[in-house]
Symmetry: C2
Subunit: 196 residues, 2 copies
Amino acid sequence: MRVVLATRNAGKVVELQRILTGIELLGLDQVAAYEPGPETEPTFRGNALLKAREACAATGLPSAADDSGLEVDALNGMPGVLSARWAGRHGDDLANLDLLLGQVADVPDDRRGARFVCAAAAVLPDGRELAVEGQMRGTLLRERRGSNGFGYDPIFLPAGSELSSAELTSDEKDAISHRGKAFRALAPLLVEALAG
Amino acid sequence: MRVVLATRNAGKVVELQRILTGIELLGLDQVAAYEPGPETEPTFRGNALLKAREACAATGLPSAADDSGLEVDALNGMPGVLSARWAGRHGDDLANLDLLLGQVADVPDDRRGARFVCAAAAVLPDGRELAVEGQMRGTLLRERRGSNGFGYDPIFLPAGSELSSAELTSDEKDAISHRGKAFRALAPLLVEALAG
């Protein structure tokens, strides 16, 4: 069963292929030459569905997508859907992370709670839609630690872990991460939908 | 009646003196040499009270303070209490404003609501405390307009106004602003408390 994953990030295809066993994932670069629109929805779920719909419409194939980000308690849940463009432009991980550290510099240790959230969605050519969410709770560090992962991983300490998200191996992170949880929840639903 | 205003911003003393008639306002520079601590409270009210308590403790005089900021709907009410340090350091108005414009660049016109909020507080040497709030609703512009005011004024269009906050004169702004409303509400309470 072939499913388009609405991303041009080859690393994400590899990561999710590990989780979505029984499905052959295709990155956008392999199937379609279209320019995804801006992620204008106010929720992760909305953006994940928007990207999956777009990919399904462009390719005619079942398509999956995710949207994820970091919700910081002291920022009323922001950066949230703006996580990847928090510093005002897209995809500058270091600028986003440094900005966030500066914004919460005066926030005391007992109010530094945060959670990573991932919405995973799938859209089938017949119009059926699936969407699920996963989360990973933790706290914000005051300095970067570790060099694995990406985004805000170096300043996030998962609850119950002594290592930051960027100090975990890929497998360790998959096991507890928001994205791992969301796609493990999506997998059986998608397999069933594709079979039915 | 003399009241310390817990600010080193001479412009703010002048602005509030216009509103707080019947009270002689003293800026911190006129009365005390202490370094105010960081504004660590999660609410405007909490920070205003914190600053007023600090000034009252340091000077032994009745003290007033305000804390204010911009709550953006699409950012779940942020920058909020972090308005003056949104770009990660204190008081760089242009950096804060440009960052905010970038963050909401993809937010469509019908979701660009925002409000300025001001908490005004007073603390008397006998321990009595007063706190009130004022707000001004409006929408976020996409480019700066006007050169009056400060902070986010150039990108804020007050509800019912065709001019940005930075295109209004001081008097026009006082009449509708969050700070004007809060201190006009505080004034009679403070006069009464000082008399009683």
